[in-house]
């Protein structure tokens, strides 16, 4: 046999030996970069909260006055109370809707299942600002549907500009998240576990409450906390529904005392941001504690057998129609409202649409260079920022899942920290950081600082998208490449990256969409020339230019859909599957 003969070709660069390998240096670089990125905005907020004047003014002294001012500000008390009430109510609604949908889709024979699956995540792709706008256009006090109902059906006009109304809007816009968290867990449940409980004498009811739901606990707790945090940090809903009726939340309190204030009160803004951060970090900590060791919930055993769907019987169609109706009412009609408003100067059931239909809103946008500039900036930030973000996310995931680096767990914890940092506060922190640390000064007034802030803000999301698939790729694949002669670099480019290509593309898409629809992170960071879609829309909402916002929102939503269709064509992957 010829194979056993001596080597007749050269072995690469022998002897390739190291005393100090580069693979020991790169991880530390990434670890320091990540921890720096996460701490950079947070530390200055704490510092400013304890400073008696803006941090760029010389001679600042440490003080507790900011905190005590806050403590005696009745408006702040009201904002905190409202925020907590709103977050609890909206989270409950979101969970109830999302978990119900997950169980209906995951475990019952509901009719039209594939249609529901296809539609249920679309609301995630649209900015909260646009959804809230749509709700206001359709269901607000002067909304089309509200007016129509009270005029033609004699129904009493409801008032969404109330805490209860805000809870409904918030709950509905965050329900898809609860669904996504739970659908995976519902599907992964091993039917044998339930069968075992049934044969051991448990009734269906007992199985549901003692076996099935406890196994869903990580998903339930995870989504509840995540939604609670999202509700605490939301800015668009209190701005659109709270401002007209004078209901202020934590976020609007900060927003009005800074961006929209005649003289910014830096101390108050930093102190309240600092408090909100503290509340959120404690919430995250609490969540980890409540979950404990998640392995307790992993169902061990056979390849998931075929789950038996719960038979809905005669209710198969009614339940399906009810579910679809809720989805249409909650998402379809508001988006239709945005579209119709975009092409009308005034949108009301009192006037026939043909009489108000116009392209004026778009002409207005076109006539002001700021809007095209914002669109171009948004596209640049999303495409470039998401690419840089994916590289960082990949390196972090590689260190956490691929090396035995002792700092791996700490790196993961730091990288996941920003999920407790609201976008607006991250932006504020980077604004301070750019003032405080001269090396960052040059980024002020450029798109770079926006990209940095966005990457920090959505680091947890990117990791959450990439890490599970990375953990599924066996390290053996790289080990055998290395022993068969491929260098670390060649192993990366020929083995790991090609295998991960679909997941990397998914992470890029998710980051792109988040960057594209974000409006809160940039509030403190943009300057003339670096406006983005979100910030100009927020200003238009503030000024009450509903037609122009609707037109911009239409452009944003259409571009989002175009992007997803293109990515889908390129890779045939399904987002959020």
């Amino acid at each position: 046999m010829t194979v056993a003969q001596t080597n007749d070709f050269k072995i690469p660069k022998t002897p390739l030996a190291v005393r100090f390998s580069p693979s020991a240096v790169v991880p530390w670089f990434v670890i320091i970069l990540t921890i720096g990125l996460v701490l950079l905005p947070l530390v200055p907020i704490g510092y400013q909260a304890l400073l008696d004047r803006p941090l760029y003014d010389a001679g600042g002294k440490l003080t507790l006055k900011n905190l005590s001012d806050l403590f005696f500000d009745a408006r702040f008390h009201a904002a905190v109370g409202n925020s907590l009430l709103f977050a609890v109510g909206a989270t409950l609604i979101a969970q109830l809707m999302g978990v119900t949908a997950a169980v209906l889709v995951g475990r019952t024979n509901i009719a039209g299942k594939s249609l529901i699956i296809a539609l249920v995540v679309w609301p995630m792709l649209v900015s909260d600002l646009v959804k809230a706008l749509g709700w206001s256009i359709m269901y607000g006090p002067a909304g089309y549907v509200t007016q129509f109902a009270s005029l033609n059906l004699g129904l009493p006009a409801w008032n969404l500009n109330s805490l209860g109304g805000m809870m409904i809007v918030g709950g509905i816009s965050h329900a898809p998240l609860a669904y996504l968290f739970c659908i995976g867990a519902v599907r992964a449940m091993d039917p044998a576990i339930e069968d075992a409980a049934r044969t051991a004498g448990a009734s269906r009811r007992t199985v549901l409450f003692r076996i099935a739901l406890p196994l869903l606990r990580p998903a339930l707790i995870g989504s509840t906390f995540f939604n609670f945090i999202m509700c605490l940090e939301t800015l668009s809903i209190p701005l659109i529904f709270g401002k007209p009726s004078g209901i202020m939340l934590f976020t609007t309190y900060i927003y009005m005392n800074s961006v929209q204030a005649v003289t910014q009160n830096y101390g108050i803004v930093a102190a309240s941001s600092f408090l909100l951060l503290a509340v959120l970090l404690i919430t995250v900590k609490l969540q980890r504690k409540m979950l404990g060791d998640t392995r307790r919930f992993i169902t061990v055993g056979s390849k998931a057998g075929r789950q038996k769907d719960f038979e809905l019987g005669a209710f198969r169609w009614p339940v399906s129609i009810a579910t679809l109706s809720v989805m249409i009412a909650a998402v379809g009609i508001p988006l239709l409202g945005v579209l119709l408003q975009a092409f009308a100067e005034f949108f009301s059931p009192l006037i026939p649409y043909a009489e108000v239909a116009t392209l004026d809103n778009f002409r207005y946008l076109w006539s002001r260079p700021i809007y095209t500039r914002a669109l171009v900036n948004s596209l640049i930030i999303s495409s470039v920022g998401a690419a840089v973000g994916v590289v960082l996310v990949f390196m972090i995931a590689a260190i956490v899942t691929r090396t035995r680096n002792k700092a791996g767990p700490a790196l993961e914890a730091f990288a996941m920290l920003p999920r407790a940092v609201p976008g607006m506060i991250a932006g504020l922190g980077f604004f301070y950081a750019a003032v405080l640390f001269p090396p960052l000064g040059w980024t002020r007034g450029t798109l770079v600082i926006l990209i940095i802030a966005f990457i920090m803000r959505y680091l947890p999301l990117g990791l959450g998208t990439l890490m599970p698939s990375m953990m599924q790729v066996s390290a053996d694949l790289e080990h055998s490449a290395r022993t068969s002669g491929a260098s670390w670099l060649k192993t990366m480019f020929h083995i790991l990256l090609p295998i991960l290509k679909p997941s990397l593309l998914a992470a890029y898409t998710v980051l792109f969409l988040q960057f594209f629809k974000d409006y809160a992170t940039a509030v403190f960071l943009y300057s003339p020339g670096t406006e983005i879609l979100g910030t100009v829309m927020l200003l238009l909402v503030w000024d009450g230019h509903t037609g122009a916002v609707a037109a911009l929102a239409t452009v944003q939503v259409l571009l989002t859909f175009a992007f997803i269709v293109t990515v889908g064509r390129l890779s045939k992957f399904k987002l959020y599957d």
Binding site: P15, R19, S474
Partner: protein, 369 residues
């Protein structure tokens, strides 16, 4: 020459030692098994030879070239060692066809395309799967995947073949066929092979030498016959083939030191020559394999009187569980038996250990249910 030498190799994780001062010479062209239960350090040892893990102490050399020195912090990268690794999962690259899998290491070595094609065809023919060259890994059965993994390493002619439990993912029948095939392939190629397994049957039937690892330490290194017939420690005796340990005391010694032992239950055995020396009066444990015992009359010489506790039918025979002086004894019988029986012993094979050598292993230490 591609012998592999490990000299006092250790691997610490924090304070916990996965491998402790392991010394081993794998001669050129031989087939050596690293055998032990899970957690004994065999896979860590293989990883250190491959360059995927770094020894914290000791030296490893391959074919006379130093590849790792724990104390000096020196380590040759895995890609420079020119070894062939077949991991337990086979680790076929899922995005490449079979021919691309086999060709990738050649491409990395910048082999011209024509020669590469020839080499791929040769390697695939050698493992008899030439017809599968255009398939993707997920389109292959477990046995075929294993062959691709081996072809992939053979194609570039590594100095040493490292196999990490390559048979454990195959079903029982296929495993036996693969075992024969692997052995004849290795004989044909005369390639130095290190084979990691927890299956003693595989280790004994395939290897020229077997290294038994116990808790990160080398318990015994020898030919399969040595390991089986002359276990150096109670652990080796018990792990390879299974043993009953019966306590007793040395009562007399023969001309060449052959001990006579009175077991705790009263039976007396005159044993053959032992590797270790024992004093008269010393308490000892006799390691008895089931296949060294045959059912006989109760009161003959060299017979152990056993009270039977239970039977298990295994098709061609019964596995019998009994006790002698309170010590469990396992043996087999062709017929259903009951009550008390005498067991004639192959006294020349029984191995004696001093009673205090029976540490964590052996029936005495088995956790009580």
């Amino acid at each position: 020459m591609s012998d592999v030498t490990l000299q006092d190799v250790s691997r610490l994780y924090g304070t916990k030692a996965a491998v402790k001062t392991l010394s081993l010479v794998v001669p050129d062209g031989s087939f050596v098994s690293l055998l032990g239960p899970s957690g004994c350090g065999k896979t860590t040892t293989l990883a250190m030879i491959a360059g995927l893990d770094r020894p914290t102490g000791g030296r490893i050399s391959i074919g006379g070239t130093l590849v790792a020195d724990g104390a000096a912090g020196y380590m040759m990268l895995p890609e420079a060692r020119n070894l062939g690794l077949v991991p337990q999962s086979y680790a076929l690259w899922p995005h490449m066809r079979v021919s691309q899998n086999v060709g990738f290491p050649l491409k990395v070595r910048k082999m011209p395309a024509a020669q590469r094609q020839q080499r791929i065809a040769e390697a695939l023919a050698l493992v008899e799967i030439g017809h599968l060259a255009d398939r993707y890994p997920h389109e292959l059965s477990g046995g075929q995947q294993q062959r691709v993994a081996i072809a992939r390493t053979l194609a570039y002619r590594p100095k040493v073949l490292l196999l990490d439990e390559p048979l454990s993912n195959l079903d029982a029948k296929l495993r036996e066929r693969a075992r024969h095939w692997l052995r004849s392939l290795q004989r044909e190629l005369k390639m130095t092979t290190i084979f990691v397994t927890h299956d003693q049957g595989e280790a004994l039937s395939l290897s020229d030498h077997v290294a038994v690892l116990d808790g990160g330490e080398l318990a015994q290194y020898g030919t399969p016959e040595d390991i089986y017939l002359r276990p150096a420690t109670p652990f080796v005796a018990d792990f390879i083939g299974g043993c009953s340990f019966v306590k007793g005391a040395v009562v007399a010694k023969g001309a060449r030191g052959q001990p006579t032992v009175r077991l705790d239950g009263g039976s007396v055995l005159a044993l053959g020559v032992q590797d270790r020396d024992f004093a008269i009066g010393q308490t000892v444990s006799a390691a008895v394999r089931p296949e060294w015992l045959t059912v006989a009359g109760t009161h003959a010489p060299n017979v152990i009187a056993v009270k039977i506790d239970g039977l298990e039918f295994s098709g061609d025979r019964y596995n019998v569980f009994g006790t002698h002086g309170g010590h469990p004894i396992r043996f087999s019988s062709e017929k259903r038996i009951d009550g008390e029986v005498g067991l004639a012993c192959d006294v020349d094979r029984i191995v004696l250990f001093s009673a205090d050598a029976i540490g964590r292993c052996g029936p005495e230490a088995a956790p009580k249910p």
